[in-house]
């Protein structure tokens, strides 16, 4: 199924193409941006507090005279890494338990499915708040909270796919040939489930980034002075009227990033998910 996807598909879909270009730009920003910006994101400059965008500070400065461009660029590292690592971790956990529940069925399935449902029974941000609040706030607590919020959705999806795949004749054939479950799951079921899993994963990266931003906004994410997009908004929100750029630019960064991930996810779903092909 993955082979069906080509560059041609992408170039004929303008929003998806723009989204991919923006994401490439974003990854470059996170990777090499910090070497290109001329200001230190932590350096306070008392002579240039709350300056609107100007030549020296392209996106202006915040209430402590720190360069907003530099802070937005450094902040991209946190947002991207949390979003991508949390997706990868929750996918891994979700795939593991989803495969087991779907393949073995019976009591194992009943127990695991109940566990998935319990995690899904929490409103996501509230659960993330609960988890990160009892840890010392930081990168790890944010990632762990988002992973624990996200894994169950993937697990339920993978379980469903596994349930339908394990009835296929080629799986039965390899079972008849004496292949052990681990081999069947890894060699036969996982590769066939992968496109759907990837689609689900790409659709969730955006919401994970939003969740990280929300946790940072609430003071539960990476702690100041390290700049994150969410905390830049919460620290400066009192100045929304007098110095709106301090809030506008980090918010734009979050919005553009998440929109790009979501458009890309929609595009992949339309191309890779056979259930979507009407």
């Amino acid at each position: 199924m993955l082979n069906n996807l080509s560059i041609k598909d992408l170039s004929s879909n303008t929003p998806a193409l723009i989204a991919v270009l923006l994401l490439v730009l974003l990854v470059l920003t996170a990777a090499i941006g910090p070497f290109l910006v001329s200001h230190d994101p932590l350096a306070m400059d008392l002579d240039s507090l709350k300056q609107p965008p100007n030549r020296a500070h392209l996106l202006g400065t915040d209430s402590k005279g720190r360069d907003i461009l530099a802070r937005v660029v450094y902040g991209s590292r946190i947002s991207l890494s949390v979003g991508i690592i949390a997706s990868a971790l929750s996918l891994a956990i979700g795939i593991f338990f989803g495969l087991i529940a779907g393949y073995f069925g019976g009591k194992v399935d009943a127990l695991l499915s109940q566990a998935f449902d319990i995690f899904l029974a929490f409103p996501s941000l509230l659960l993330a708040i609960g988890i990160s609040a009892v840890m010392s706030a930081g990168l790890t607590s944010a990632m762990l909270a988002i992973t624990l919020v996200g894994w169950a959705g993937f697990a339920r999806l993978v379980r469903g796919i596994t349930l339908s795949l394990k009835e296929q004749t080629y799986i039965e054939a390899s079972r008849a040939l004496g292949a052990n479950p681990a081999r069947i799951l890894y060699r036969h079921i996982l590769p066939n489930a992968l496109p759907l899993i990837l689609v689900a994963g790409s659709l969730r990266v955006g919401s994970f980034i939003l969740l990280e931003a929300a946790l940072s906004f609430l003071g539960l994410g990476v702690q100041p002075p390290t700049p994150t997009w969410g905390s830049m908004i919460s620290l400066n929100r009192a100045y929304i009227n007098s110095a709106p750029w301090m809030v506008i630019f980090p918010g734009l960064a979050i919005s553009i990033t998440v929109i790009s991930f979501n458009i890309l996810g929609d595009f992949l779903r339309d191309k890779l998910d056979p259930r979507m092909q009407v």
Partner: protein, 308 residues
Amino acid sequence: MALYFLKRTLLFFPTLLGITLITFILMHSLPGDPVANMAGERASAETIARIRTMLGQDRPVALQYASYLKDIATGELGRSIYTNRKISDDLLQKFPNTVKLALVAMLFASTIGIGLGVFAAMKRGTNWDSLVTLLSVGGISIPVFWLGLALMLVFAFYLRWLPPSGMGNGSFLYVIMPAATLCTFSLSYIVRITRSSMLEVLSLPYVAAARAKGLTERAVVLKHALKNALIPVITLIGLDLGSYLNGAVLTETIFGWDGLGRYALDGILKRDYPVIMGVVLFGAVIFVTMNLLVDLSYHVLDPRVKEK
């Protein structure tokens, strides 16, 4: 159907139990010591021990969980560490404000969302359709707390049409911006689902029959198709109402709305763990209850859904 109702309702209880187990585990055994955090860095060993005894943390874990369950069953969620007020009292006092905000938000989300969704379905394949789709992607991508601040900047500070924050003794003007902010997420999903559900229904034979009768497209869509297309949308509305507490934490914080969300934030800022967990537990219970009601009403609304 009665059997399904019974089975579905019985399934509700293990989930509730699981929820309490998770909040209990969160309170007790995750890395980082809540009691030490609560007491602060300079607290003496005696203070920490006193808080532990106060919270019953010196007893065996299973016993603690049992008494936690017993407390919850009697509506006892403990007391705030800072105000010493009963959390259940606080929750009940703040809850109506959040409900009010959520209902207005859902009113916005459902009317605008269904309208836009039907519009996009009727204009399928045109630029209008793409525009609505793009807007709905934007709605699930823009952080609510930032959108709220942007609305505040434009409508309260630049245009001066609406008050920037507060509750204004129940004046409707005060609820408009918070509700508009809170609703964006579900608005976007309602647009999407209405659109795709409408397209699906429009392709059914009975709609073709209505068209063949010579009805106008307007009558076909509004009188015949809409009713059936709305079934999945109603489900979504129910589920989203249950999850509004998510957005409420952020929205209420920004607009100074005195509901559960802001109460949660106060708890977070003060590291008032019983308060945080009280809200988390309460939110989850509301959420699963809404899920249950949605599942049950789905059976009533759509007789095609048969029990598995």
